[in-house]
């Protein structure tokens, strides 16, 4: 087993290293190597998932870094949640690698792109397998790095240059709290090993809300939750398959996975706070998505909103459901991102949805698989999203009505903006040259769409999966299944998606102009949604008007007081004495004899007055 786990982890690392060292100028070979690596990852992770018996946990560790009484380990913990995420990462990872072959076929820097993907797979698998918080943190930062690298793929554009930086720095802000949390955990519990922590957390005097919230900062940064959500929409500057893999299906979901990993540390207040935060994010991001024109930004806000649902599920005390939604979301969101990639590729990198239209006839596979994704995320009955999302809503309805209300409004919005996106893109007539000249993408791109479309349809039936993959989800699913108000919830759910569908059809059903009709029908709502509640403005105000001037002020102060007053000043004092001393050396004999007399008198006075006492 250990050989399998190590090979699984280091296969993509070696692949990235080989690409970096030898394949920089051989993009096609690098692409094939990377896809083969992704295949190898799927094979090894299957071995790891199905290798043990049902319910078995595989652990292994070795000393990584030891100083004084500090002892850090490099180790694996392959238990049921890890197996679920491993399945999601390796399976979707492979599909997106294959899709990239088509999408990035004409790219200049293929080897950089595929090398970056391999680094990402390495880091993501590291998070999944890690058995302690510090190792999670190490790979946590590394996924941040690979995300930076891939967002900056089109580095010549200012957007990508800024977005990559923003993503990394905002994540660092979250990691700052996460790091503090890990350090406090280490000193309070005496360990950072997840299993040992679980045992130690039985002592309720050790856990505290502050500690949970610090650790949750990692989640807030990585999963782009309020108030650190600003980086994710900008991160769409990266290539679309990257958005699908990293900024929708896996990396941003790692934040939720972290919460599930340290579930036992959470106090009731911390849970409630995370739940509320998630619910509000679910609503807020849905609201922002309403007025976006860029196809990828709509999906990005939708991702934020769905991550909020996962956090809400976690906050309700249903980590299994959170992971369930993580899995189904990974299917349908990867599907829609890849679908948008297919559209963008076909329309020569046009990303404005008002410039699309009528693409259903030109690219039917993309259109129908995309529709499946839209239906799934809107919670249409018996598709994958229905099971996981309605489980969250039902759980919220029975456990915390406030959270339910927020999430329910969010659900209606989800269906509105998703159908809006679908209608604008695929229905009606083409509204620009690029979309009228579009054609269906190649098999490399459509095959992953079909597979993901299939999974988005059936992915909610947990009974279809091998038990090893869904083991962690079952207890919580059972718990929700036994809750009351099923019928009522079904009616509400139906109302939500049908309502959203009708609103979207009414406003966007058949438009011909490239202006957003909402801006005329309800300018206030439209402008409020466009403004995204001014978070970006507030942050850039802080950076440009407060932080940077303050830093420059410090620089001037340093120049004045330290380099100037302290260093030059002391040099000046020395020079003054030198000047004084120099004036004695006049070269005139009478002044020398004058000083001689003064000195003699001074010496005599001193010895007469003070010398006698000794």
């Amino acid at each position: 087993m250990i050989q399998v786990a190590l090979s699984l982890l280091f296969l993509p690392f070696i692949s990235a290293a080989v690409t970096l060292c030898f394949l920089r100028k051989h993009g096609n070979i690098a692409a094939l190597l990377s896809v083969a690596t992704a295949g190898g990852i799927l094979a090894f992770s299957s071995l790891l998932i199905f290798g043990g018996e049902e319910g078995s946990i595989f652990t292994w560790s070795t000393t990584w870094f030891a100083l004084s009484d500090m002892h850090l380990e490099f180790g694996f913990l392959v238990d049921s949640p890890a197996k679920t995420l491993l399945f999601v990462v390796s399976f979707i990872g492979l599909l997106i690698h294959i899709f990239s072959l088509g999408y990035m076929a004409d790219d200049e820097a293929k080897s950089r792109y595929f090398g970056g993907l391999s680094i990402f797979m390495f880091s993501m698998i590291g998070i999944t397998l890690a058995d302690n918080l510090i190792m999670i943190f190490v790979f946590w930062e590394l996924v941040g790095f690979s995300s930076y690298l891939l967002i900056a793929h089109y580095f010549k554009t200012d957007d990508a240059a800024k977005a990559s930086r923003k993503a990394f720095i905002v994540n660092r802000v979250g990691d700052f709290g996460f790091l503090l949390g890990i350090i406090f955990t280490y000193w309070i519990f005496g360990t950072v090993n997840l299993q040992e922590l679980e045992a130690a957390s039985l002592d309720p005097t050790l856990t505290s809300t502050l500690l949970c919230l610090l650790l949750a900062c990692g989640f807030i940064g990585k999963s782009a939750q309020f108030p650190l959500h600003v980086w994710l929409p900008d991160a769409m500057a990266g290539p679309t398959p990257v958005s699908a893999l990293i900024h929708a299906a896996t990396m941003v979901a790692a934040g939720v996975f972290l919460l599930i990993r340290i579930d036992f540390l959470f106090t009731a207040e911390a849970l409630k706070l995370v739940g509320l935060l998630g619910a509000v994010m679910g609503l807020y991001a849905g609201f922002c998505a309403l007025s976006q024109r860029d196809i990828k930004k709509v999906l990005a806000y939708s991702t934020l909103s769905q991550l909020g649902y996962m956090a809400a599920a976690f906050g309700l005390g249903l980590p299994g459901i959170a992971l369930f939604h993580l899995m189904t979301h990974a299917f349908f969101k990867a599907l829609m991102f890849l679908g948008s990639g297919s559209v963008i590729h076909a329309c020569h990198h046009e990303q404005d949805i008002f410039a699309y239209g009528g693409l259903r006839k030109k690219m039917p596979i993309t259109a129908y698989t995309f529709l499946v994704g839209v239906l799934a995320i809107s919670g249409v009955h018996f598709l994958s999203g229905y099971f996981s999302k309605d489980a969250i809503l039902l759980g919220a309805y029975n456990l915390d009505f406030v959270i339910f209300l927020i999430l329910y409004v969010g659900a209606i919005l989800t269906s509105v903006y998703m159908f809006r996106l679908y209608f604008l893109t695929f229905c009606g007539e083409a509204r620009s040259k690029s979309s009228s000249a579009a054609y269906e993408s190649t098999i490399f791109m459509t095959a992953p769409l079909l597979v993901l479309g299939f999974l988005s349809v059936v992915g909610g039936f947990v009974a279809l999966y091998p038990i090893q993959i869904v083991e962690f989800l079952l207890p919580d699913i059972e718990r929700v299944a036994n809750m009351p108000n099923h019928l009522w919830m079904n009616i509400l759910g139906l109302f939500a998606w049908v309502g959203g569908l009708s609103i979207a059809w009414k406003i966007y059903g058949n438009i011909t102009s490239t202006e957003d009709p909402l801006s005329e029908k309800s300018p206030t709502l439209f402008n409020l949604s466009r403004s995204k509640l001014f978070f970006d403005e507030i942050y850039s105000f802080y950076i440009q008007r407060i932080q940077d001037p303050f830093f420059r002020f410090l620089e001037i102060m340093e120049l004045l007081f330290i380099s100037g007053l302290m260093v030059r000043g002391s040099a000046g004092v020395a020079a003054l004495f030198a000047l004084l001393g120099k004036s004695f050396y006049s070269g005139k004999i009478h002044s020398y004899s004058f000083w001689f007399v003064i000195g003699t008198i001074g010496f005599l006075t001193y010895s007469i007055l003070f010398g006698a006492n000794s």
Binding site: F65, A66, L67, L142, I183, V567
Partner: protein
Amino acid sequence: MDTFQTLLLGSVLVPSIASLGILFFLLNDKHMAKKVAYLAFGFPCIAGIILFLNFDPNHTGYAYEILYDRMGLQSLGITFHLGLNGVSAPLFAMAGFVGLAAALVAIQSDTDRLPLYLSMLAFMQSGLMGLFASIDLLFYYLFHEFALIPTFLMIGLWGGRDRRTIALEITIYLTLGALISLGGLVALNVMLDAPKFDFPSLSAAILADGLGIETQKKIFGLLLFGFGILVALFPFHSWAPRGYEAAPTSVSMLHAGVLKKFGLYGLVQLALPLLPAGGLSWGPYILWLALGNILIVGAITVAQNNLKSMIGNGSVMHMGYCFLGLGVCSSLGASATIMLMCAHGLSVSLMFLLANSINQRTNTLEMNEMGGLAAKTPLLACFFAAATFATIGLPGFGNFWGEFAIFLSLGGYGLDGSGEVTEKHLFLVLAALGIIISAIFGLRAMARIFFGEQSEELSAHEKKSKINDLSFAESIPAVLILLPLVFIGLWPKGISEGIDISITKRYELLEKGGSNYGLPSCCPVDQVFKKSVTNQSQSDAKNVEERK
């Protein structure tokens, strides 16, 4: 003398002999001087690797000892005594790597009077290897001066803008620091009355009869500020960024990377273990000043537009972490400092090296006059990204482990032995802000130099001379530095074992001042050092009797 001892002695002597050889015979023979330089710098690098790999981490004392005690200074306890322990072995190897890389940069450059330049650089290298290999304190100090003097001369002769003024300022400033620390060393020797003036004898003497608290405080203060000036402790740091900006690349690399570690090395090996009460009482002040390095100098770094001055300020900022590790007065903090010293030495010299490569292509160091360089020089961008991310503490590079362990030691310090969060954790929280600050300046530089559109200035310059990517030869020194950096990052245990064993043992005295978690947070100094107190009162009593 066995092979390893020969290697150790050779890595100190070969560069200085080569230096003299070039100076006397090859000043006009550029070609031959280069060949000699390969030997002068290649030998210490290879010797450093061999000695480090062969070093048994479980060895508590010094290995490969060489002792020559017939210099006529025995009466003063001064001998020529070389050897490596767990702390100095990785630093010694690091000095070898950085030295070779710096020399390769120099050899590839078109510096005028190159043989003279190489000769001085080799002399500097000899001092650098010597200072980490010295067991005797006088030689430890002398080797530092050996390395420092060429630094001044080279800044003055080959430096950039304002080189004369800056060379003079650095000379006075650093000589002052060195003198204060020498005062501390001498005071330590005189007060302890040790038979020999070296690390082990002083340790033995202090165990036999400790110093009084007041004496410890005074000597520690001398050492702290003397060494502190040399390491650019806030607010004695202003020499560093300006000096590095003006100095030729190889000198910046060697000074910021290796020579600056002299002071920290002295504090870790000597001041803290020998003067525990001094360390404990100065500890909080060290922490506050270190925060000045991290927050204030960090903020200033963000405001820089000149690449070299950003790197220089950034290096001063990261020295703050090293001082934090010392200020907590624990073996964890001290060993973490050594980890960070090794990693930082490599990463900062890589930064200077790449800044030079960038400068050669853009003919400027102002970052807003660059932009979009990654399209022309992908390999350079790749190296620069690696160096930047190493500097800002990305896991996978050595710096992360050092910083992380220092944060961990601060966490333990803040506990105050109580197992709860206390106001002393403020140090941890403020220090950890540094990870955001470094990310801001590192990534800003990356974006300004390599991403986005090419600036007009650069396009104008490009018309005059074509911008090429790094050549194979140019990338060798960068790879040479990156390899150990990544090695430490991936397998920190590789160097931490040796450091740990030699630090932990020598820090027992200091740790006794600790409460829970083996950390001396706010220990009541008076109680813990009763032995020292009684010793002092006895000796005071003796003095009184003698006077009568």
